[in-house]
Each structure stands twice: as C-alpha cells, then as structure tokens.
Amino acid sequence: MDWITEILNVTWNFIVLFLNENIPLVVGSVKAVIIAVAIMSVVPALVWLERRLMGRFQVRLGPNRVGPFGLGQPMADTVKLLFKESIIQSSADKFLFHLAPAVVVITAIAAFAVIPFGEPFEVFGQTIEMWGANVNSGILFVFAISGMGIYGMVLAGLSSNNKYSLMGGLRSSAQMISYELTLGLSALSIILLTGSLSLVDMVRAQETYPFILVQPLAFLLFFIAGIAETNRAPFDLPEAEQELVAGFHTEYTGMKFAMFFMGEYINMVTMSALVTLLFLGGWNAYGLPVWPIVSFAVKVFFLLCVFIWLRSTFPRIRYDRLMTFGWKILLPLCLLNLMVTSTVKVIWFP
C-alpha cells in the first residue's frame, strides 16, 4: 500500500505547489465563479423587484404572501417550475428545443464576465479586481456575446414547429440585429471620447463628469437600443403576448420556460451595467462618500427600475414601426452624432 500513499503525497504536493505558485489564477477563478453564481442569483431578486414595483405602479400589492414582503415568492416559483412537467410536443426538434434556452442563459452569463463594477483593491497582498475578466476590447466582447443570444430565440422558434414561435423567433432576431447597429454606433461616440474599448478605461475617463452630460443623444439612443436588445416593453415584440401568444417560447414549459426569463433578466442587468459604465460614470461617486461598488449598484438599480417603469407605462409598438424606427430614425441619428462627436473631438480637443 505504500505506493498509494506515495502517489497521494506526490499529488498533494503538486497541488499545493501549483496553488502557491498561481495564487492570482486561483483567486481569479474563484472570483469568476462567485460572480457567475451571483449574477444568477440576482435573477430571483430582480423578478421580485419587478413584480413588487409593477404592483405598486398598478395600484396592487404584488407578491406578499411568501416570506416577508413576498421575498420568498421567486424561490417558491422556482421550486414550482422545477416540479412542472416538461412538455415537448412531438413534432419539435428535441435537441434544438433544449439547446435554445441553454444558449440564452449561457450567452447572458458569459457576456457579464467582462463587466467591471469597481476599482481593484488589495487584500492579503492580493490585488482583487472587481471584474470577472478584463479583455482589452470589453465592450465589443459584450456586443459579440450578447449577439450570440439571438440564436437562442431563433432556435426556439425553429425547433418548436409552431407558427407563433417561428414568427416570434423571426421577429426577435430581426429586431435584435437592427438595434445592434444602433447600440454599436451610439457606443462608438463614447469610444471616441475615451480612445479605448476597455470598459475600465471608460469609467476612468469619467472621473470628473459622467459622459451623459456630453453625450445625451448617444445615451438616449443607447438606452433605447438597449431596451430593444433585451426585448423589454415597449419593444417586447418577440413575445408580444397579445398577438403571438408568447412568441418564441410559446411551446416551452417548466424550467426551460423559466430559463428564457433568466436570460432576459441577466441581459437586463448587463444592459443596465453597460449604460452605467458608458454614460453614468460607472462606480465614480462624484464626491459622495460612498463605496465605488455602492455607487455602481445604485446606478444599476435605478436603471433597472426605469426598465420596469417603462414596461408598466408604455403600450407596445407595432412591429413594422419598430423596424422603421430603428432603421430610419435611430440609425441616421447615430451616424450624425458620431460625425459631430468626432469632428468636435478632432478640431477642438485634439
């Protein structure tokens, strides 16, 4: 039996050695896992927030039975959904049918990986950075990955073999690609101002004033496009309940159904975080004595409330208007804004 102990010893030593030599890597990995799990656990809280707020907006109470202030409601719902029968109608493509919600959730979480939410700080001689990963073209990464989320909807529409789903899938993908342009173009003016694609650099460039003051139009365009990208009201055409029943997820039940919502809510957080980082100065508190992360969280929270507020206020735009709005109004405005910004930058602030 000696050789077993020997091997175990060697292995253990190797692991210890490896860990000792690669502490940043370990810290980073742990942090990544923590952030990923945290962002997923934000979802129930956000669902609760939305339902409570919507309740308040609509002169009703919202969930208030499970736990204090109905805080247990999302958990109860999750458990209920877990116990629901998962119906996959027989003419659906099984593999794609399962793949679709997975794609939505995975892309949503992966896109959050590069979102920073505070300055790095030191603990036990280790620099802890307040982001999952810092790639030097962070904002493009978010666009790229959230662009992948389209396939979740397309696949849901394609695999369901249901007319409402297919139409919802088509609609959503056409809508998202159209507004992706606006999103990218309006972010460009911020990139112009900072000269970097890194989200951290963008926040640092806003130490004196947030960019919303100099780029109000870009902010508006970005926010509108952001709402459309996350398929929220009044741009929630893909899942327009009143005409398409439930759009691309008409055929989904139980947990798979919930996963689409999970993706949607994570995207909402990501989008709010992006708006905060690009336009509201990120974690800069502008003199207020709060921790950076609190400043960041408050801003994101505020934007999330705006999302919910918009949902309870506006009727839904019709699809053709949505598309022409994106292509005929937002796109030229973006180009105009871009030209003006770059001209001003080059001529007056070289």
Binding site: L140, F143, M148, I150, S173
Partner: protein
Amino acid sequence: MELLIFYPLAGFCVVLALGVVLNNSPVGSAISLIGMMLGLAGIFVLQQAHFLAILQIIIYAGAIMVLFMFVIMLLNLKEGDDTGWIARERNLLLSVLTGLLAVGILYKISGILFTAEMDTPAILPDSFGTVATIGETLFTDFVLPFEVASILLLAAMVGAVVLAKTKLD
C-alpha cells in the same frame, strides 16, 4: 502550453466542420457552423489576435449566420432527403472520424507533454493585435483598401436591393 489548447480547439473546429457537411438538417449544419466559428475565434485568441477574434464572432457568427438562419426559415428548408447515406452509417463514419481525431489530439498532446519540448512563443510587442494598432495601420497604410471597401459594400448593397426587393418601381 499554447498547443495544449490549440489542438483540442482545432479538433473541435474540425469536428464541427464535419458536422456542417454531414448534418442532414440545415439548421443542424448552421449550428455546427456557428460553433465552428466560435472555435475559430478561440484559435485567434490563442494567436493573440483579440480584436480579430471578436470580429470573427460579431461578423461571422453574429451577422452572417443570422442571415443563414433567416434563409433557412424563409426557404422552408426541411430535413434533407436521403441522399444515399443512411443516418446510422453516417453516424458511424462520424464517430470513427471523431475518434481518430481524438486519438490524434491525444497523441499530439502527449507528445508535447512527454518531450517537454515546448515551442517558445514568439515575443510579440505589447501593441500586437490591439485595436489601436489595427486602427493606426488600417487608417494610414491601408487607406486605399479601406475606402475601396466602402465602394464594395455600396455595390453589395445595391445588389442586395436589386435582387431581393420584390417590386422595383
């Protein structure tokens, strides 16, 4: 170390590329293609071409494949008719190919591990592959291609309109 990641990624790409060809539903092929492109982006990252990797995802996986998907949806494409290959045989072939590939990758990896003859990666300047460098090169040395590209895109746009618009005045 790089090769340790490269070979599995390359294998992944090859398997998915095979999937594109061998899949008998167009949707499946398209999905494989998307996966392949993501793998390719991974390889670009490995080559320190970060911007290129992201472009690969944005343009190919994000934009062009959406058009593919649309066309699949629009054209009413269904599972391809049986073109002589029975699914089981094809799956068999596919698994054999995959197996061979896996063996090859394992062999390569073990070769790397055991010979410990790591290629020293080329020393790259810090600015390599960054957006700023690309921007400066593209907009000074390659001005002409850049502007000509806009003409090309314009021509392509005209083509798209002429051929796809249902009614021309």
